[in-house]
Symmetry: C3
Subunit: 270 residues, 3 copies
């Protein structure tokens, strides 16, 4: 099965199984990521207290951990929940929002790596910071190019065993050996808050139905990139685009993917 | 006054009095429920710390307690605020999101029942869990039918004195003796996150102006069902529907209700 | 440079410099204010834990503190972050949501004044409460007119050194000596939750690029008022207006401002 066909198969599996995706996320994107997950066909649950998160993480199809507005209590819950997911053999994805720019969450994200995320998705500055490189970005926005972060991403993947995604105008996905590029999207997308968080949430949905985290990550980036690219053509502005992307995920079909996806694969030699 | 006419009278009373509705709610729906309450004509306030919630609960027209993303601190505030509302004779509504699926909030919801909610609204799995039945659902989504939950709802109403609403394709509303069915809505509505939370928020508005919680609950379910049914006909997808429903609540008229509402009443014999 | 020309220059400076605006805000508007700041051209970061907020406040272009859903932990972070901003010479804006109506946040807001906000923006009841007058409003909604609050606003500005904005159908902006009126907007705007919070967030963006907080506040109120007034003419309801305003901020041009802004300036004699 080709790359694009397998993206279609993963989408069909999400819609057939409606996997429970457990999100520990930030106050900015809680609504939009829940809606994006419903639209793609998953069953989202937003649960992030220490009393509850480990209980849910053990039974969910996948866990998504996003440190965007992390508090000390939520950090404690993230440690417990990722440990529970790891112990139960459940896949989980890490979104290291603003890691590198802020000390507390940088330390936290590094601690969470011990619980073996299946996928890490960030912008170039965030991934370089986790890889021990770079300057840390400006707040939540990247100040580095995705290309510049690729070497760090490969190193981070090798060190942690996670698939690493550097999102940007072109998304790079690597497991340390294989690397893929997804070249979909639109220049208006960075004007919508938290579409990176939406990407990581969608990775939660693909991880829940797809055994290979490398393909799970590619497929989710394809879904968001394809839908963003298609809907941006007719959108009325960035707030409309936030809405249009969720509508688009609901109507996303195999034909959309086949006609629009631009994916390239490489064996990495580093 | 007939059932539909009284729903129109309650709507007019909300718009005339603009009741203060105090919400202790989750990070997913804070924006959409505040906007839904403004659209229907109420004055929402989102306040959920232990230092403030009891103070507001004593003076608000009604209190809405939603455990969707409950933390231990918020749980403490919920106990204090519902006790304050009960003591002050203020009506309050409970939304037991994911009760049955998670231990902490199941225990919390049962403790909150001691402060005598006027209305409890949940999906079938949540109501069955509160009634001591059922399997608890999958995360926040129901795995049981509303019909299956009706016997438990009647029992829960009798035991607690609350009006109990089981929402689904057909909504059941019971005070243990009387039962009503509201058969409005659209199949796309479950693809919008938190419309159940919106229903409970609207119950807060109707409770604030309507002396009989049984009718307050029916009317709120009618408003949401009618608006959802009308706006879904022309919506562009689930994210648009979230927006269209709020717009629709703003423009909701007595004529919309009279033309579209499908309400049936039964004396219950159990 | 005239008043309107300087508003255009400030807008151009935001878009050229994309200033980092640090927000400590509430769960209702976190998404919409982040999107509004992105749309106007700024780089928002939502960070509100005691461990992180002071670190970011020292380096951000401006800080915005909004007590809308304040918790004790967030209150502690607000004290630390505003002290850090003040010490580092960074401008910050205070949004005293529901101050006067609730004891905890009223005390907090008064403590935060010691860290010398550059701008305070509230509705009439909130400003009167901070000025030690008035009845405190109903929840988050004002029960007083902006005109009634003007004397209190001037006194508050003189006492604290902050520019004070009373927003309403006509917005009043005063530094205690100079007073301006911005008479833009639309009657539907109060039906959108948190547009006042959006105004304060935009003040964060203007403060980051504009040396005089009096003009920074005027310009932000002009942007929101002009965009609200233009987009309300064709909007489909309050939820659409929330979205249309963010789209409108993205497309806001100098011509829109020149054609639509209604600003009057007065030397105040009190």
């Amino acid at each position: 099965m080709g790359r694009v066909e397998s993206a279609c198969a993963t989408l069909a599996a999400i819609r057939e199984n409606s996997p429970l995706v457990h999100n520990m996320t930030n106050i900015v994107v809680a609504n939009t990521t829940a809606n994006a997950l419903l639209a793609i066909g998953a069953s989202p649950a937003m649960v992030d207290s220490p009393e509850e998160a480990p209980e849910l993480a053990r039974v969910a199809g996948a866990l998504v951990v996003n440190v965007g507005t992390v508090t000390p209590l939520q950090a404690e819950a993230m440690k417990l929940a990722t440990a529970a997911a790891h112990k139960a053999g459940r896949p989980w994805a890490l979104d290291p929002v603003a890691v590198g720019a802020l000390t507390f969450r940088t330390k936290l994200a590094n601690e969470l790596l011990e619980n073996k995320p299946s996928v890490i998705r960030g912008n170039a500055s965030e991934i370089m910071a986790l890889a021990g490189q770079g300057s840390g970005g400006k707040g939540v926005d990247s100040t580095d190019s995705s290309e510049a972060a690729l070497a760090g991403a490969i190193e981070l993947a090798k060190r942690t065993g996670a698939v690493v995604v550097v999102s940007g105008p072109v998304d790079f996905i690597t497991d340390g050996t294989r690397t893929a590029e997804v070249a979909n999207g639109d220049a208006m997308m960075p004007y919508v808050t938290g579409l990176g968080c939406t990407a990581t949430a969608l990775i939660g949905a693909t991880l829940a139905v797809c055994d290979d985290p490398f393909y799970a990550a590619i497929h989710a980036m394809v879904y968001l990139g394809v839908v963003g690219e298609i809907t941006a053509k007719t959108t009325e502005g960035p707030a409309s685009l936030q809405q249009d992307i969720i509508n688009g995920l609901y109507y996303l079909s195999g034909d959309h993917i086949k006609e629009t996806a631009r994916v390239e694969m490489h064996e990495t030699v580093v």
